[in-house]
Symmetry: C2
Subunit: 543 residues, 2 copies
C-alpha cells in the first residue's frame, strides 16, 4: 500500500519525451548542414531505447559500468541516459587524464563497454592491451567500419540500427548506482564517486529551483564544461527534466565556436571553468568580432575561483551576468550558487562585485558547516576561516571501492578540504585547500592570499607559497617566486617583502623568498605544491 515511487533517471527521460517531445538538442558538427546536427527529445528518446537494447545485446547487465570517452555531443547524451535507463552505470572518463590514470580507472571501474569518439581512439588504442575488463569499444560514428585497432570495435550507428526502439526499464531502486565519475587526486590515483539515481534526480530538481540555476522550458542550455567533468554540472539531466533545449559544443570547441553557438542558437544559460570565459573575453578582444549575447541570462563559472575583474568585464563589456558556482565531483556537483539576496541589492557597486566574486550561498537541500581543525563549528562572521563540510541528498557518502573514503567522509559529513570564511548572510569565500594552508603556531596562514599579493608585483610572473618545517612554530611560509623575463637579475627578496609588508599581519609574512625557474604543475595545470614541499622540506631560512 505504501508502495514506493522511486526517483529514477528513466523518469527524467520520460518527462522530456512526453511533455517536450519537439524541443531540440543541437550539436555542433563540422560539415553538417548549418554546422550542426539537430533532433528532438522524441527522437532522442527513441534512440536511447535502441541503445538500451544494444547494451543488453552487448552483454551489459544491471549494475555494470559503461564508460564514455567523448566530447559533448548528442551521442554522448544518449549514453548519459541509456546506461542508467537500462540499469547500468554511466562512467564518464576524462579524456585528458595521464595514460596510467586512464588505465587505473578503467580497470578499477571494470568498464565492460566504452563509447569512444573517433578522434579519441588513438589514445585508447595505445592502452587497450592493459584495459582488462573492456569487452567492446563502441565507436561514436555512422561509419559502419570504423578505422581503429581497438579490439571488438563496433560502429555506434550500426549497433543502433539493429536494435528496437521499444524498451521497458527494469525494476530499479533509487539507491542503485546510475553514474560514476573519478576525481583527479593531487596525491595518489583518481578516486571514484558513484551517483545514485536518487542523487541525480534530486540534484536535477535542485538545479531547476528558482534560486539555484532556475532551468526552465524557456531555456536553451549549453554545457561547455565537458560531459566527463563532475556529472557535467547537471546540465544533461536538469535540461531534460524541464524540457530546455540543449546545445552541445561538439569536438574541441574554441572560443569562436562558443561565441557562434551562443549567438546563433540563442543560448540562455551556459557553464564552464574560468579559463573558458577568460578565453572568450580574450578572443573577442583580439578578433574584434562581435556577437549577439542578448539571449544569455547566466554564464555559470565554476571549478576554480574567477577573478572579480572578469565578472566585471562580462557585465560591463558584454552585458552578461557571470555567475559564480562552487561544487565538486563528490557533490554531483553543485553545493553553492551565487545570487544576490534582496536586502543586499542596494550595496555599492564595488561591494556587489565583491559579493559576486564569492562562491555564493549553499543551495537549498544541502547542509554546510564551517569547522576548525578540531571539528568545532566556527561562526559565520566573514572573518574566521575553517574547512567546509557538507551533507545532503546529493552529497556522496564514499569513494567507490577506495580505502581513502575514511579520510574524507566522517560522521556523515563530506570534508571538502576547502578552507573558507562564511559571512553572516551565508556567502562562502574560499581561500586555500586545507593541505595548502600554513599552520604557524596553531594559527592558519593562507598561502593563496600571500600568492595573490606577491603576483601583483610587476616583476613577478608566478608565485607559490608553501609551508616549511619550523622548530618553534611547526610550520612557516616560504615564498617561491618566478620573476618575469627581464627581471631575473634585478628582482630581490627585499623588493618582494617590501611590496607585501603592509598588507598582512607580521606573523603572516613569509620567512624567506626563493627564486625559481618555474612552478611545477599537475596534469590539469594546477600548482603542484607537493613537489615544492618535498624540495624545500629541509630548507633553513637564510641558510
Amino acid at each position: 500500500m505504501t508502495m514506493h515511487y522511486p526517483l529514477l533517471v528513466p523518469s527524467i527521460l520520460n518527462r522530456a519525451r512526453t511533455a517536450f517531445p519537439s524541443k531540440e538538442i543541437i550539436t555542433r558538427l563540422e560539415g553538417a548542414e548549418g554546422g550542426v546536427h539537430r533532433y528532438t527529445y522524441r527522437e532522442m528518446a527513441a534512440r536511447v531505447n535502441r541503445l538500451c537494447n544494444a547494451l543488453n545485446f552487448l552483454g551489459v547487465k544491471q549494475g555494470d559500468r559503461v564508460g564514455t570517452f567523448a566530447w559533448n555531443t548528442y551521442r554522448h547524451l544518449e549514453a548519459y541516459f541509456a546506461s542508467p535507463v537500462m540499469g547500468a552505470v554511466n562512467h564518464t572518463i576524462n579524456i585528458r587524464l595521464f595514460p596510467d590514470d586512464l588505465v587505473y580507472i578503467v580497470n578499477h571501474a571494470q568498464d565492460k563497454v566504452i563509447f569512444v569518439d573517433p578522434d579519441l581512439c588513438p589514445i585508447l588504442e595505445a592502452l587497450a592491451p592493459r584495459l582488462e575488463s573492456v569487452e567492446h569499444y563502441v565507436i561514436l560514428t555512422d561509419d559502419p567500419e570504423p578505422a581503429t585497432t581497438l579490439p571488438n570495435a563496433v560502429s555506434y550507428e550500426s549497433l543502433l540500427a539493429q536494435a528496437s526502439d521499444q524498451f521497458t526499464p527494469p525494476e530499479m531502486d533509487e539507491w542503485d548506482p546510475a553514474g560514476l565519475c573519478y576525481t583527479s587526486a593531487t596525491t595518489g590515483r583518481p578516486k571514484g564517486v558513484t551517483y545514485s539515481h536518487r542523487a541525480l534526480y534530486l540534484h536535477s530538481m535542485a538545479e531547476c529551483m528558482a534560486d539555484t540555476a532556475a532551468f526552465s522550458e524557456r531555456d536553451t542550455t549549453m554545457a561547455v564544461v565537458p560531459m566527463f567533468h563532475a556529472n557535467c554540472w547537471g546540465f544533461p539531466y536538469s535540461s531534460a527534466l524541464v524540457g530546455a533545449s540543449q546545445v552541445m559544443p561538439g569536438v574541441r570547441p574554441d572560443p569562436q565556436a562558443i561565441c557562434e553557438l551562443i549567438d546563433r542558437h540563442r543560448v540562455t544559460v551556459t557553464a564552464g571553468v574560468p579559463t573558458i570565459w577568460v578565453g572568450v573575453l580574450d578572443y573577442l578582444e583580439r578578433s574584434g568580432q562581435s556577437y549577439d549575447f542578448s539571449s544569455l541570462r547566466a554564464v555559470i563559472s565554476g571549478g576554480s575561483a574567477v577573478p572579480v575583474s572578469v565578472i566585471r568585464a562580462y557585465k560591463e563589456r558584454l552585458g552578461v551576468d557571470l555567475v559564480h558556482a562552487y561544487g565538486m565531483t563528490e557533490a554531483t556537483p553543485i553545493v553553492t550558487y551565487n545570487r544576490v539576496k534582496t536586502h543586499l541589492e542596494d550595496l555599492p557597486e564595488d561591494e556587489k562585485y565583491e559579493l559576486a566574486g564569492s562562491q555564493g550561498m549553499v543551495v537549498a537541500g544541502l547542509e554546510m558547516r564551517l569547522v576548525d581543525d578540531e571539528g568545532n563549528d566556527l561562526p559565520w562572521d566573514g572573518e574566521q576561516r575553517g574547512e567546509l563540510l557538507f551533507r545532503g541528498p546529493w552529497i556522496s557518502r564514499e569513494y567507490y571501492n577506495d580505502e581513502r573514503t575514511a579520510e574524507t567522509y566522517i560522521d556523515g559529513w563530506y570534508h571538502s578540504g576547502d578552507i573558507a570564511s562564511v559571512d553572516p548572510d551565508g556567502y562562502v569565500q574560499i581561500g586555500d585547500r586545507v593541505k595548502d594552508m600554513v599552520k604557524s603556531g596553531g594559527e592558519w596562514i593562507s598561502s593563496v592570499d600571500l600568492e595573490t599579493a606577491i603576483i601583483a608585483h610587476p616583476d613577478v610572473l608566478e608565485a607559490a607559497v608553501i609551508a616549511i618545517p619550523h622548530p618553534t612554530w611547526v610550520e612557516r611560509p616560504l615564498a617561491c617566486v618566478v620573476p618575469r623575463e627581464g627581471a631575473r637579475e634585478s628582482l630581490d627578496k627585499a623588493q618582494v617583502m617590501d611590496f607585501i609588508r603592509d598588507r598582512f599581519a607580521r606573523w603572516w609574512l613569509p620567512d624567506d623568498v626563493v627564486f625559481i625557474e618555474e612552478i611545477p604543475k599537475t596534469s590539469v595545470g594546477k600548482f603542484d605544491k607537493k613537489v615544492l614541499r618535498e624540495r624545500y622540506q629541509d630548507y633553513v631560512v637564510g641558510g
Copy 2:
C-alpha cells in the same frame, strides 16, 4: 557507508533559520501595531523549538497526531513545523466541516492535542464530549487563562514560555508521517490523506522549480487558501525552504483585507480558490478603491475551474497574471500548473486566454495518464476525454486507515475521478467528475458542458444535468433547471432545448427538461447530484 540522508521537514526549518534568519513572517492581527504581528524566521525557529518541547511535555509521542483548528497565522505556522519536527503528525482540521464530520475525523485520526483559535473554541466546545482521544486543547492566545469550557485547555503562550528554545529532532525516516489532511467526500465520511516527510519535502522542491510556482528568496508569499486546505498548497514549507517572506491573512480575511495586505506588504505570489479572486474583483468594483498590485507576479487559482473571463479581467484591469493550477488533497496537492510553453507565445490573444483557462501541464516529477473506463490509455489529442491518473513522489498511496483506498489507488496509480482531455502539448482541460458523466450507449456525455450551455440562457439561474436510467442506452441526460425570478411562468422546455440544440451532437441533448425550485447543495456549496439522481431514478421521459 551508504548512509542515508533523509528528506525531512526539520531540514526545511533548518534552512530558513540558518540561511534566511532575518526574513519575516507577517500576520494580519487587528489591534496590533500596523495591524500586523511580525517576526523573523530566527524567532520563529526558536519558538518552534519551544513548541516541540511543549508537545513532549503534553505527552505527544512520535507518530501521534496533533490537530489544528485555526486561521492562517504565525502560530498555526509554528504548529505546521513543530509537530513534524518533534516526530508527530500535523493534522489540519477544516473549521467549516459539519459537526458530525468533525467528530468523525478527530476520532478517526485519534488526535491527542488540538490547537484552537480562540474564536473557534465554541465550535469544539459543543463537540468536546464526543472527541474521545483529545487530551489537551491548546488555545492560540497569550491570555494565560483563556475563557473556554474545553476540558484540559491551556494557553499557547503560557505553554511556550515554560519551554526551552533548544531542541534536537529525534531520529526519523523520510517515510514517516508528517502531515494529515481529510478530504470531504461527497458520499460517506471524509477520507484522510497522510503526507510523509519525503512527500512534503519533494513537493516543496517541486513548487520552487522555475517552471512550477518558482518560489524564491525574492518572493513575499501569501496563502489566502486556508492552512487546513490540502497542505495549504505547499506555501508554508516551500516559502521557508527558499527564505521567502510570508504574509498570513489571519482571522476571517475579507477582500478588503486581502487587497490591503498585497498592497502594504508587497506580496508577490498569492493563492486561493476562484471564489476569493472573484470576490476581490467584485470588491474593487463596488468600493471604487484602488490598490498597488504591481508587486504581484502570480495569483494562483485552484480548487475548481476559474472562468476565462476572470483571468482576462485580472490581466486587463489589474495587470495581474491569474495562474490556473490543479491539485487535490491526495497529491500534497499540486499536480498541474499553467505556464505558456515558448512555442505557444505567439498564439492570438483569445487562444492564449483559452490556454490560460486550462489546468496547465503536469508538473515535473509526476506522471499522468488519460484513460478510458476500461483503463486503456487515450491519446493526448485535445479531443478524447478520459479519467486522469497520477503517480509520483508526492502522490499519496492510500487513504489513512480506510477501506476506500482500494477504489481510488489501483496498480500504483491514483485515480482522480476527474474527466479531462489533454492536448498534444500536455495541457489538461478538466470537464466532469467521473460520477457526474452520463454514459449513453457506451459513450460519455459531459454534464458540465450541457450545464454551461443551459446556464447561458438569460432566463436560467442554475442548471444541473444528471443521468437517468434508460432501457436501451443504459443512461440518458436529464436537465434540471431553476428559472430566474420572473421567468418561472414563462420559461418552457422547448426554449431550453432550442437554445442549446445547435451546440451539441443530437445524441448529447437531454432527453427531457424538468424545472425545480433549487439545486440541492453539499456542505461546501457544490451541486449535490446524488440527491437529484435519487429523486429522478424512476423518471420516465414525457411520463
